[in-house]
Amino acid sequence: MSSSDSDLTALTAAELADKLASGETTSVEVTQAFLDRIDSLDGELHSFLHVDHDGAKAAAVDVDARRGAGESFPSLAGVPIAVKDLLCTVGQPTTCGSRILEGWQPPYDATVVSRLRRAGMPILGKTNLDEFAMGSSTEHSAYGPTRNPWDTDRTPGGSGGGSAAAVAARLAPVAVGTDTGGSIRQPGALTGTVGVKPTYGGVSRYGIVAMASSLDQAGPVTRTVLDAALLHEIIGGHDPMDSTSLDAPVPGIVEAARRGDVSGLRIGVVKELGGEGFQSGVQARFEESVAMLTEAGATVVEVSCPSFAQALATYYLVMPSEVSSNLARFDAMRYGLRVFPEGVGDPSAEQVMAATRDAGFGDEVKRRIILGTYALSSGYYDAYYGSAQKVRALVARDFDRAFEQADVLVSPTAPTTAFKMGEKLDDPMAMYLQDVATIPANLAGIPGLSLPAGLAEDGLPVGVQFLAPLQADDRLYNAAAALERMLLDKWGGPLLAPLATTSEVPA
């Protein structure tokens, strides 16, 4: 393999797009370089559940030919991408990391996927995730965990650990993830990548297998803020197939990512999201980031969001309730796994449903289905689901008040750096706490972005989270781009995972 190929994988999506537009390289070359790197390194990482060599190459040939014929394309045409295996893709399986959908081939594309195809982005494959996106470590995948390219004994976070690890290890220049309680941002923090959860309704959910409908949102997983904005622009925008899709233009996010100017910006530090319970190295990198923003001309204020103390508990009522209903359709009747109960002659439909769901779902999924079924039960609904909706409104109100004082809010993205495989697997509460800082944004629907902010005392990446009001996603990109530029200046270039710098690509 030529050295130029491995160089290609070191470029950002924006840089690749420039080279593709100028004819310096082709999508076939770029796509092949990433496929080679996947073949070489993903045996260890397991960031992909399915690699679509043929489909990706065919798409690359197609976009090169059309470009050659003079067709004009959006920014990232020809740049390959990885897609979380929660999005329906024609021609590739969609398993959601679950046995119950093993080998299932959707007959339709998610809107995000069809937009990627229309934009001329070859799809490298489907990335690993916690089963049905339920988890914060990607250890709950029925097909085995993904490892963190910074330290393969550690998890990449979750649920979108596959997308984050793939981008961090340069197996894909960019990826699509989904974020219900932090599944894009927390893995971003733990792998040193950029992850964005857009405003709820900003990106279509059509064709994304639902975990919790009122919280789910797809978004970019990238290595730079600009790449995230470019991808966000492609996948975002109104979709008539999704009733909760916002019928409003996507704010000027690419322009904001190029601007990166925080002078005069009011930045709010959320009192409740930091300090106690946060690893000291995480807290230190966060405080340095705030100091840098201040130096760059931002005003920093402390804001308080008292209802955040109940956010995690609220999330663990709303999310499982919706999960219990959304996952009811996996019943062996129409598609997916079908298991017949042992020792039952002539089983009824109900018995087959029960046996299939018992065999097809993992423990974490079952835990949440049971929690949600209980929370929605007659007699408990008001106390659980009803109260949770009220607290949810309080969280939104806290944000509204905070945004009266500040243009963007900041916090550490996750309380710790990447944790060891198995460390939290038997302690659901410890696992759930990984999302304590990211969940409030999902409850309120507001956008959030995680940016790599350096390494903690353990040598592992730390993420700083930016939050903005509904439909003000551009503010995230502006503020994060400013900090990113200062950090890159300070570091003299991006911080790369050890596995990302390896060039062990077979000749």
């Binding site: 329906c88 919790a212 009733s243 309730s321 039960s377």
Partner: protein, 500 residues
């Protein structure tokens, strides 16, 4: 355990001790072009599982989008039932596992119906009974299960089941009454009249074809008894599979007799779903249903709330047809029909056909006569609705015109109906092709009358003696000779003039 016929108390006797309280739930399948939440044709029937897509099959990742036309129909139904229309309401998920439900939840409305607090005045034998409407809400239909191999066609005992999702997602409006308190002896008829008049309303709104025999209008009958003088309500049963107006009435009667027997015995009514059997007029136990049934309703997070603007609601109010009761009273006055004639016309589903025939120029009595006798008989023979016959009100009016002009008589008119129904063309064309015009050649007619008088001297004598009524026999003979193609009135005139 073997099934034994339950004890019954005579209906009238039951009413001496108990008061019935009814509740009616009517499901109306809307006639929208597409389904409730996707773009599939809302056509039930046809090759199974052809009108389906990821949304109505509930495939992973698929999302619903509300059919605006269905919301419009729901609002119009609500307005026609004198309901309030919600300014803001949501869909809810009704969660339960059943193979004919693609998502294992039904997207419905729960505590926020689109229409609520209405009423309908039911007219019966000159009395008006106000039925209060609790709510009308939108929901999607389920798929259809066919249970194969069992003796009963029910899921229990079946070898396997076939599922057709063409029906899944077809928009339904469920109209729920408040408890109906009417004198017990009237209860069965009021229930029937309510469903019948509701159907008229639905048809006038043109939001459904509202056919009970095909399931596009389905009525569930809730019934409970309470001892006379007691104000608390008894335990109710919900009877399904009630597929005709007559069955609504019979189901109420039967359940009153059955409940009374159980209560007389000191027994308890089981809160359950029961199935009505058309052939025997009885009900049998279906699924046991209790308040413990827990559908875990919660607001549908995949759909935005429905918030119809007041301007839209008012513009829809302006499209409402004349209320059926008022229209019936107006037409009855205009046509001069007796109460019985009007009831028969409505009962035969001929109101609109008669109205259109009159509008095409026929006298009211003639329009009624043709539709309710001649055509109703043929529809009955073919087992189709009157409106489904291949003849238009304009054709019927044209035939009547031919009769009035003396070109044909009633007997020939029947042959014209035959021809039109057989697709031989317009009434004029049929008359021509079949050569059906009456003989108006006075000479031919006169000689035929003379021959009839000659052949029947006894009858002729009677007429000469003043028994004019005997002329019928001679008319018959003449008509026979003329093979029916004569004006019987003219024949009669000739006979009388020749003999008196």
């Amino acid at each position: 355990m073997t099934m034994t016929a339950p004890a019954l108390v005579d209906f009238d006797e039951a009413l001496t001790r108990y008061e019935p309280v009814m509740g009616l739930e009517v499901h109306v399948e809307l006639n929208t072009a597409t389904k409730m939440f996707c773009g599939c044709p809302a056509v039930f029937g046809g090759e199974p599982n052809t009108n389906v897509c990821p949304v109505c099959l509930g495939l992973p990742g698929a999302l619903p989008v509300v059919n605006e036309k269905a919301v419009e129909s729901a609002i119009r139904i609500g307005l026609a039932l004198n309901c309030e229309i919600a300014e803001w309401c949501r869909f809810a998920r009704k969660n339960y596992f059943y193979p004919d439900m693609p998502k294992n939840f039904q997207t419905s409305q729960y505590d926020e119906p689109i229409a609520f607090d209405g009423w309908m005045d039911v007219e019966l034998d000159g009395e008006t009974y106000r039925v209060e409407i609790e709510r009308a809400h939108m929901e999607e239909d389920t798929g259809k299960s066919s249970h194969m191999g069992g003796a009963t066609g029910r899921i229990h005992g079946a070898d396997y089941s076939l599922l057709d999702y063409n029906r899944a997602g077809i928009p339904l409006i469920e109209i729920v009454t408040r408890p109906i308190f009417v004198p017990g002896d009237k209860a069965p008829a009021v229930a029937r009249a309510y469903v019948q008049q509701l159907r008229d309303l639905i048809l006038a709104l043109d939001v459904s074809d509202a056919r009970m025999d095909q399931g596009s209008l389905r009525a569930d009958v809730n019934l409970s008894l309470r001892p006379v003088g007691v104000s608390t309500l008894g335990t109710r049963t919900e009877t399904k599979n009630v597929n005709s107006f007559r069955s609504v009435e019979r189901a109420v009667r039967y359940e009153i007799s059955r409940h009374a027997a159980i209560l007389d015995d000191g027994g308890l009514i089981l809160q359950e779903t029961r199935h009505f059997h058309e052939d025997t007029g009885t009900t049998s136990s279906g699924r046991e249903k209790s308040d413990a049934d827990d559908y875990r309703y919660f607001p549908e997070p995949d759909l935005a709330p429905v918030a119809p603007s007041r301007e839209w609601v008012e513009s829809l109010r302006a499209t409402l047809p004349e209320p059926p009761g008022e229209r019936r009273r107006r037409l009855q006055g205009e046509w001069g029909f007796s109460d019985l004639e009007m009831r028969d016309t409505v009962g035969a589903g001929a109101l609109d056909l008669v109205a259109a025939t009159i509008a095409s120029g026929a006298p009211a009595a003639a329009a009624r006569k043709w539709w309710l006798s001649e055509l109703a008989r043929r529809a009955n023979e073919q087992g189709v609705d009157l409106a489904a016959l291949p003849i238009t009100p304009a054709d019927v009016a044209a035939i009547q015109k031919l009769v009035e002009a003396g070109s044909i008589n009633d007997k020939l008119a029947r042959q014209v109906f035959d021809g039109v129904l057989a697709g031989e063309g317009t009434p004029d064309e049929v008359v021509q092709k079949r050569g059906l015009a009456v003989v108006s050649d006075e000479g031919a007619l006169s000689s035929a009358v003379d021959r009839a008088i000659e052949a029947n001297p006894d009858v002729a004598d009677k007429i000469r003696a003043g028994k004019v009524a005997a002329a019928g026999a001679l008319i018959g003979a003449v008509m026979k000779e003329m093979r029916g193609q004569a004006d019987a009135g003219r024949v009669r005139e000739l006979i009388i003039s020749k003999l008196t």
